[in-house]
Amino acid sequence: MADVTTTAPEARTLPDDRPHGWRRFLYSTNHKDIGTLYLSFALLASIVGTFLSIAMRLELHEPGLQFFSNPQYYNVFVTAHGLIMIFFVLMPALIGGFGNWMVPMMIGAPDMAFPRLNNLSFWFLVASFTLFTSSLFFAGAPGSDGAGTGWTLYPLLSTKGHPGPSVDFVILALHLAGASSILGAINFIATILNMRAPGMTMHKMPLYVWSILITAFLLVLALPVLAGAITMLLVDRNFGATFFNPQGGGDPLLFQHLFWFFGHPEVYVMALPAFGIISTVIATFAGKTIFGYLGMVYAMVSIGFIGFVVWAHHMYTVGLNASTQAYFVAASLMIAVPTGIKIFSWIATMWGGSIAFRTPMLWAVGFVFLFTVGGVTGVVLANAGVDRVLHDTYFVVAHFHYVLSLGAVFAIFSGWYYWFPKMTGYMLSETIGHVHFWVTFIGVNILFFPQHFLGAAGMPRRIADYPDAFEGWNYVSSMGAYLSAFGALIFFYGMAEAFYAKRPAPANPWGPGATTLEWTLPSPPPFHQFEVQPRIA
C-alpha cells in the first residue's frame, strides 16, 4: 500500500469545477455531496428519535403515569421512535450516507451510475419525513393525534382503530421512503455491477461494497411487497375495500404476512451494511486481511437469501398450524450458521493480529460483543414454544435493540470515526472518541440488559405503565438511557471539537491495514475521483 500515492487519474480534476452556493446541494449530482446530505439528515432525525426514546424512558422511570396523561400518546411516541430510527436514521446513514460516500471510491469509479436518480432518492426521503412529521399533528385514534399503531401498522388497529388521517400520512410517508430506497438500491446495483475499475473482480470487491450490493437486492425485492401491503391498507381505510376486514371476507393475517415478508429482510437491510463496515474496520486495525474473505461474502449472500424465508417467526402467536411453525423455527435457526461464520471470522481476523485500539476499532469490537448478545437472544426467540411466553414482552425489545440500537448504531459510529478524516479532512480527537465509546457502551448495556429480566418476568411492551413489581429494573434501565443520551452529547462535542481544532488528516491516517481505494485519495477527496479508470493490481 505504501507504494500507492495519489497518481495521475484524479489530478485531471480542476480544483474549482464544483458547483457553488445552494445549488451545490439542492441540485446535487455528486455522490459525496449527496452522501453528506444523507448523513446530516440521519444525524438530525436521530436527535428526534433519541428525544422520543428518552421521553419513553422518563415515563417508565417509575410506575404510574407521569408525563402521558393520555397513554395513547405513549403509543404514538413508540411508533414514531421505531419508524424514525429505522427509515430516517439507520437506513439513510448506513446505505445512503456511507454507501454513497464510499462505494464509488472503493470500486474506483468517479460517481454513482445514475447521479440524478441518487439525488431523487435523497429528496424523496425528505418528502417522506415531512409527511411522517405531519402525521403527528393530525387526528389518529379517537381523542388523540398521531399514529399509535407501532411501526408494524397491523390492522385492525391501523384501520378501524385510527379513523383520522394520521395513519394515511404514515402510509404515504412509507410509500415515498420505499420509492427512495428502491431507486437508491437500483442505483447501487448498477454502480457496483457495472462501474468497477478494470481488475476489480467481484471476488476482489471490498466487503463493505458486497454488503451494500446484497442489501440493495433485498431492498429491490422486499420494499415493493410492503408498498402493496400498505396500498391495501390505504384502500381499506379510505375506499371501502376489505383486504383486512373479516366482515367483508378479508384476512388481518394477510397484512402480517405481507408486512413481515418485507419486515424481516428489512432487518438485514440494517444489519448487512453494518457487517460490511465492521469487516473493513477490524481488518484495518488488526493489520491483517479479513479471515475467510469468500466465506464472509457468501455468509452475507446466504443471510440475505434465508432472510426472505423466515418471516412468520414474527407471527408465532397468531394461530399458525404446528408444521408451519416447525418450518419457520428450523429456517430461522439456520441463519445462526452464516452469522456464526461472520462472528468467528471477525475474531479470527483479530487473532494474532497487531491490534491498534483506535476509536473505530473500539466501536467495532463493541459491535461484535453486542451483536453476539442480540444474536443469541434471537436464537432463543426463534423457537416457537419459547416465543409463546416471550412474545411482545420486553425480552423482544431487548433482543432487537441489541442487534439494531447497539449493533447497527455501533457500526455507524465505527464507520463515522473511521471515515470522518477521509470525508472532512480533519482528525477527530482520540480521547473524546474513547470517552464517547465507553460512556455509550456502559450506558446502553445498563439500558437494555435489564430489559431481558423484565421480559422474562412478563412485562409487556408498548404499554405506558407497569405493575410495581417491575419497578427496580425499569429504574436501572432509565438510568442507562440518560447515560446513553449523555454519550450522544459527547459525540456532538467531539465533532465540534474536530471542526474547531482543524487537525489536518493525511490521505491514510490508519496505516497499512487500510487497503481500500478511498485511502489512496487525498483527504478530503477531490470532487470527482478516478475519471480515468485506474487499474486494480
Binding site: R23, F114, A127, P165, K204, A227, G240, F243
Partner: protein, 282 residues
Amino acid sequence: MSVDPRLEPAEPNGGGPIYQLVEPSPWPIRGAFSALLLASGLILWVYDLIWPPWIVFSLGVLGVATTMIGWWREVVREAENHEHTPLTQLSLHYGMLLFIGSEIMFFVAWFWAFFNSALFPADQIQVVRDKVIGGVWPPQGIETGDPWVLPLLMTVILLSSAAAVTWAHGRLIKGDRWGLKAGLICGITLGIIFTCVQAYEFTHALFDYSGNIYGAVFFMATGFHGAHVIIGSIFLSVCLLRAFLGQFTPTEHLGLTFAAWYWHFVDVVWLFLFAFVYVWWG
C-alpha cells in the same frame, strides 16, 4: 487492493469519455416535492380538509408530470448528443431490468392477497371471515363472468400488441423505419383497445369493489395491471413520437428497447391474471 501505478489507465471507450458525469439538475428535488404535494393533497382531498379539496393534489400531479417530461426530455437530448457512453447504456439496461424486477415484486403482493383467499377459503379459525366466504372461491354470492369471452379477447389483444411491438423493434434493427412506425401504431392501438375493453369489463362487473374481498382483490390486481397497460401505452407513444422525429438508430434505441421490455412485463402479468384469476378460479 491497490491502484497499480505501473499500468496505464484503461481506456475502453477508444479514448472517449468512459463515464457520463451529469451537471447539477433541478429535476430530482422538484420531483420529490411534487410527490410530497401529491401525497398530502390526496389526504387533504379524501378528508375534505381544504377548499377546493382537489387543489393541492392537482398541483402535485402537475408537478410530477412536468418533472417527468422535463427530466426525460433532458435524457433524450443527451442520448441524441451521444452523451450516453457504452458504460452508461449498460447501466441503464441494469436499471430498467431492476425496475421491472421491483414491479414484479409489487404484483407479488397482489397475487399473495389473491392466493391467500383462493387457496385457503376455508380457514375455520377465522369465524367471521369463514362465514362471509363460505369455504369456496369465488366466495358465495359472487358471480363472475365467463373467462372465455372478454378475458380471452383481452388476452388475444394484449399478446397481438406485444407481437406488433416486437415486430417494430425487429424492423428498426433491419433499418426499416416504416415498419417501426407501423408496428408501434398497431401495438399502441391494441393497447388502447385493451384499456377500453377493460373499462367495459369493470363497469359491467356483477360484483362491487367495496364490501367483499373478491371485489377488492379482483379490482386492485387487474386495476393495477390496467394502470400499467396505460403507462406502457404512453411509453410506446413517446417512442412513436421519437420515431417520427427521426430518432432511434438500428444500433442505438434504448428507449424503444425499454418500452418493449416493459410491454412484455405487462403482458406476462396479464397471463398470470388470466390463468389464475379468470380461468382457474373464475
